[in-house]
């Protein structure tokens, strides 16, 4: 689907204001019982001429295990575009409550690398509102281009679930997909994630969602402890794949059991090569070495 009509914002929205506004909206809707319908906003948001802060970039790269190169990591671009995506979900006419949304999966296509010094035009919109056995899901699409350019550099599709929210006119899928049995392979890496993991990623990504920050703030939103950001985990897996992925690649992740902090996470990365030994893709899966539950899985694949 192509981008709908866009509203151009003067600057990148502030995530902290968006979260405060989302909380206020949630409270208002609870009191008034108002719903904003069963349709996604008819327009997206756009900000032009966005540049990355180099200090923030370096801190991000060091946190997720990337070397501090001049090329923006694909996960950093996600973080750069995230406030814009949030602002779409924060619109008055957005039909689902923003707070408490669950990130189900994420797909990124990094087609042309982005240098840190480049100014970028970023667009974001919501699409594909549909049922889920546990609520309602939708896709948040973000596209990144060089300022004033037509060529798409980076495209991300984040699928979110509003758990327990069922909108009139949107049917649940008839059969819930049965979760496949997961048997943990031998790990290739073991991550030790400290209790401050969420705060550290919030500091470099700007995503100060309370469920990631502390036990207390997470409990206020119904979590028993704080959980790691999904995109932090996926970005570390991407960094782990390393230079083999080259300049142009796709990067998918599906999130399953959340990672409650602190945690140990086991990871397996397996490389798939063609007959000539050239890299085709790296598949990764992460799980809890204690419970054996799968946390997330995905793939980084060549676009060639």
């Amino acid at each position: 689907m192509s981008a709908p009509r866009t509203v151009r914002l003067g600057e990148m929205p502030s995530l902290s204001k968006l979260y405060v506004n989302a909380a206020a909206t949630a409270a208002r809707r609870r009191v008034l019982g108002a719903q904003s319908g069963s349709e996604l906003p008819g327009c997206g948001h756009e900000v032009r001429g966005v540049t990355a802060g180099v200090g923030n970039l370096t801190a991000y790269q060091h946190l997720v295990g990337e070397t501090a190169s001049d090329v923006l990591p694909a996960g950093f671009i996600h973080a750069l575009a995230f406030p814009l995506a949030m602002s779409v979900m924060n619109r008055e006419d957005f039909p689902l409550p923003l707070l408490g949304m669950i990130h189900l999966s994420n797909k990124v296509v990094q087609s042309v690398p982005v240098q840190f010094s480049e100014a970028l035009d970023i667009r974001a919109w919501a699409e594909n509102l549909r049922g889920h056995r546990a609520g309602t899901q939708l896709d948040l699409v973000a596209e990144v281009r060089g300022a004033g350019e037509d060529t798409l550099r980076w495209r991300g599709v984040s699928t979110y679930l509003a758990k327990g929210v069922f909108l009139p006119g949107i049917d649940k899928p008839s059969a819930a997909a049965a979760p496949g049995d997961f048997t943990a392979p031998d790990p290739t890496a073991l991550w030790q994630l400290g209790v401050d993991t969420g705060r550290a990623y919030a500091a470099v990504s700007g995503d100060f969602n309370p469920i990631h920050l502390s036990v207390l703030s997470a409990k206020a939103l119904g979590m028993r402890r704080s959980i790691a950001h999904g995109m932090y985990l996926a970005s570390r897996a991407l960094a782990d794949v390393g230079a083999a992925k080259g300049d142009a690649f796709s990067w998918d992740v599906v999130f399953e059991a959340p990672v409650f902090l602190p945690a140990r996470v086991a990871l397996d990365i397996s490389t798939v090569q063609d007959d000539d030994g050239a890299w085709l893709r790296s598949d990764y899966v992460a799980w809890s070495p204690r419970s054996g539950r799968k946390h997330f899985s995905g793939s980084v694949a060549s676009l060639k």
Binding site: V54, G55, T58, A59, Q61, H62, T67, A68, S69, D70, F116, S117, G242, A243, G246
Partner: protein, 450 residues
Amino acid sequence: MPDNGTPAPGAMTTPAAATQLRKAVVVGGNRIPFARTGGAYTKSSNQDMLTAALDGLIARFGLQDERIGEVAAGAVLKHSRDFNLTREAVLGSALSAETPAYDLQQACATGLETVLGLANKIKLGQIDSAIAGGVDSASDAPIAVSEGLREVLLDLNRAKTLPQRLQVLSRLRPKDLAPDAPNTGEPRTGLSMGEHQALTTAQWKISREAQDELAYNSHRNLAAAYDAGFFDDLMTPYRGLSKDSNLRADTTPEKLAGLKPVFGKNLGAEATMTAGNSTPLTDGASTVLLASEAWADAHDLPKLATVLDGEAAAVDFVHGKDGLLMAPAFAVPRLLARNGLGFGDIDFFEIHEAFAGTVLSTLAAWEDEEFCRTRLGLDGALGSVDRAKLNVNGSSLAAGHPFAATGGRIVASLAKMLHAKGQADGRPARGLISICAAGGQGVVALLEAH
């Protein structure tokens, strides 16, 4: 003047028969611009910068997924977590993950020593290709905890019971919490490198004007080299920098003369060393691609210069017998003698400018009959270096000096200059590299146009 080309007496060693050895050639190099400390690379680690320089080299010579024979690099200021710095940089680069690597450290001679060690392996046929390099960050320098805190922490780890732990902790004093920052002081003398050089500068009666002139020429030559595009195929930009940030293309002898002395103010003699004629603390990284001729040919890559020979020397500086940075004065005549060469056979002199005083003291020593006879065992003065052949594209005073990265900067630049010159007097053009290092050491090398 001595008879150029005559081997000096006292040359005890002879080069290994060249016919038995392969040639090790310099294919090219890549570095990131050098940045003054606290500048563009403040938050970049040694591993980040070395990887950036390495990835630029890989891109320039098409080495993606290539298994290189060996990579050697190092850093002078190094975090303990960077014990495998070079191998980690290789793993983070586009080279094949099956490329082995090792770290080396010989103070400011680190970069040149990696070139010599790897070139020797190529000459012996142990490897066919190699990448030499070095990196340093004075911005992202390691800070250690104090000895007091370190001992308490180690004992705390060994304590088994709560009372034992409390007893260990009770030894902690407020002063133990002050961190230990690295410094450039010599462990045995407590003098900084600048203070040591100030002693040597005074000993050789090097004038303030001569030092400022050398510094001025360094900036002028480096600026001209940039203008001529000399660094276009020797450098990749990093963190927004595309030129060495220490370069002052518009500096003048007057501006340099106006600076206040910073070293040697308490030595009695006139203080002559300023921030203008001393190198600043700098961040940066450099790499050099070395190969056998066959490997370079098979990969359709250039062969700029041959690594002919190298020599290390050290001086007894601790009680002032020689200046801290004077070891190259001893290494160069030994290297020239072993190869049957004199100053007249050299077309480019690359003498690392730790301080202008270092270069000028070394040149003065080689012109001094007494020194050359009594200390170098020569018949007379070694000779004068033609200033028109000295650091012709600038050196450390202008470019800056990220300690371990300087050797790679010089080798790559010199190889390019030799290749461009080709022949001189009916023989391949030759270049001499001289690098002084902490601990009273020095490493020197001879390169020849291929």
